[in-house]
Subunit: 368 residues, 2 copies
């Protein structure tokens, strides 16, 4: 058998998991109807409510990766012909347009330059009465944070559209307050700031969005109407209260449960502060070396830094050298910036002074 490599995952995700999350994966497996698992699932949903900043009953980990969370968000809420306004400032906004269109939406894309945050006024002005306004909180492709609180206020002022938000790269890393900001439908991933392996999509939907849902969506697997019983919606307790829908990925749920426990033990605001400090230290260090940050000043994510590849430097060669010499993974850019930008993530347990120090030292070596 080949040697087992141990990487420092400083790319745009997955990150290295919290040790508690790894222990949760390897814990003796439970059946999905075991009363111990049922209690663990209930507690996991409670913990997810805390990191989402929501009281939504329908808050649960979907049994697939974050991209399936996006699909669940649209497939359950887009009725044929609905107007969906999508704020696009990167790859994941583009993907929202594609997924919404496949669900039968009339998509109105509001394009912004990559590297800049969305403009709430432009988004709201794009259509007088959309059914849904959709946006990405933290664009993984560009390292940009958008102001969802401002967007939520603008959407509410303009009418009664539902607000649908991608929180894949924000949840557990920066401030996220779904209820305060008016998020009706939110999806995320486990493999970024939550510090858990990829494989689940934390999801939340408000009562008002659920009331407008598609009754029999094209997807059976992601049908929120059927999934309610699966997690014991409305306070049902004990295995007797569960409807079998599909076999829950129990090892992944156990890992998420443990990872969230670690975050809440540290304190959610303390975790945000740790991400903020690590990101700032990295960005300061890069600029001190004469490197140019890509994301607009004032809208930079601490957990995901984008930096321009210096002129004359081979982007892929640097990434390869970091991997081979230091077991460090960083990401290429996305889309047209694939070879001109690097993406460097400091997420979950990697949001630490040690990660910043190691990464800057390794870059100093590799960039010569």
């Amino acid at each position: 058998m080949a040697a087992i490599v141990e990487r420092r995952l400083f790319g745009p995700g997955p990150t290295n998991p919290y040790p508690e999350a790894t222990a949760g994966l390897a814990r003796p497996l439970l059946g999905h109807l075991d009363p111990v698992f049922v209690a663990m699932m209930d507690e996991t949903c409670d913990r997810l409510r805390t990191v989402w900043g929501t009281a939504n009953t329908r808050t649960l980990p979907l049994s697939a990766t974050g991209s399936a969370g996006m699909e669940a968000a649209f497939v359950n809420t887009v009725h044929p012909g609905d107007v969906v306004v999508v704020a696009v400032n990167g790859l994941f906004g583009q993907r929202m347009c594609e997924v919404a269109a496949r669900c039968g939406a009339e998509v109105v894309a509001v394009e912004h330059p990559w590297g800049t945050p969305l403009d709430p006024e432009r988004v709201v002005a794009a259509h007088p009465s959309p059914a849904i306004v959709a946006a990405v909180h933290a664009e993984t492709s560009t390292g940009v944070r958008s102001d969802i609180a401002a967007l939520g206020a603008a959407v509410r002022d303009a009418g009664d559209a539902l607000l649908l938000v991608d929180a894949v790269t924000s949840i557990g890393g920066i401030e996220l307050r779904a209820d305060d900001w008016g998020i009706d439908i939110g999806y995320a991933g486990t493999q970024k700031c939550l510090g858990v392996a990829p494989g689940l999509a934390p999801f939340t939907i408000s009562d008002r969005a659920f009331a407008r849902r598609v009754e029999r969506p094209r997807s059976w697997y992601l049908d929120l109407g059927l999934l309610g019983g699966y997690v014991g919606e409305a306070g049902a307790t004990g295995a007797a209260g569960r409807t079998y829908h599909h076999t829950a990925p129990t090892a992944m749920v156990s890992s998420l449960h443990a990872g969230l426990g670690r975050i809440l033990d540290e304190g959610l605001e303390a975790v945000w502060a740790r991400h903020a400090a690590a990101g700032q230290a990295l960005q300061d260090g890069l600029e001190a070396r004469g490197l140019e940050l890509f994301a607009a000043a004032g809208a930079r994510l601490p957990e995901l830094t984008t930096v321009r590849v210096p002129g004359g430097v081979d982007s892929a060669a640097v990434r390869r050298a970091l991997l081979e010499r230091y077991d460090i993974e960083i990401g290429a850019g996305a889309g047209e910036f694939a070879s001109t930008v690097w993406r460097i993530g400091l997420m979950g347990p990697n949001a630490s002074p040690a990660s910043v120090a190691l990464l800057l030292a390794a870059l100093d070596d590799v960039l010569g």
Copy 2:
């Protein structure tokens, strides 16, 4: 923190994982574009080809549970109005009808009594020119094995319909020869006889089925046209050859890779023989105690035994006592047999003389 319980998972799935699979889960996490992970994914797909009995290029682990495999099978192959004949002899045949209908199929359900295998002649006679004929190889709800080789021959004789097969509870436990039997589209789960935690759906599709696929299916997440690049279809090697589609659940893939390695080291036919021996020993032991098996003689799955609850016995109380006294999980019946049948699985590492001995001794105690 509450004590960690360790269960013997003798229900209809999940089963206890092979130790190699658990070790694979806890292995240091890899990024989904890491060359080490890419090589592991390629090898996983190769190993899946062996357990499926197929040479199909498009053989891969989908990033969700077995039920999503069912959805992927239909969403990629059902064009609106297509006639889909479904052999129904249990819960999962019923579910196929629902999922196919949501994809726009005209469903022709061919009902069989629960506990009996499907009748290939009746299935083929149900419609003169279906686009797809669908069937469950091993019905998890009833413990019945159907003869897919005979169905495949009948379907080929009758026309050019595609054969779509659910192998969730058969793969890695009993004979399965996708290519020899004419299976065009197959999906499975990891948490049964493959002895891996739930969370992935091993999937295979033939070239001829892929050529007839839906070009832009309603599901983006499960779109096989997009997923080809994700696994390096057609022999592309190295990270440079991969198209980013979604973040692969790398811990689960690592676990599946290791579990499959264990099975192939033992030898696939030896693994089938081990399941056959354990199931026979259990079924003999149950009958020797005067208990009545539910599935029809000649069509009983060794990996999943269904047995009638004796008159006057409280089904749930027995299951609870097994769990509380022995940490043993067995399953209730499905559908109308929920309280009159038990489902007992001996899958993956649990297909062993030790499991049979423990289970029979515990039943002797609990049944008094």
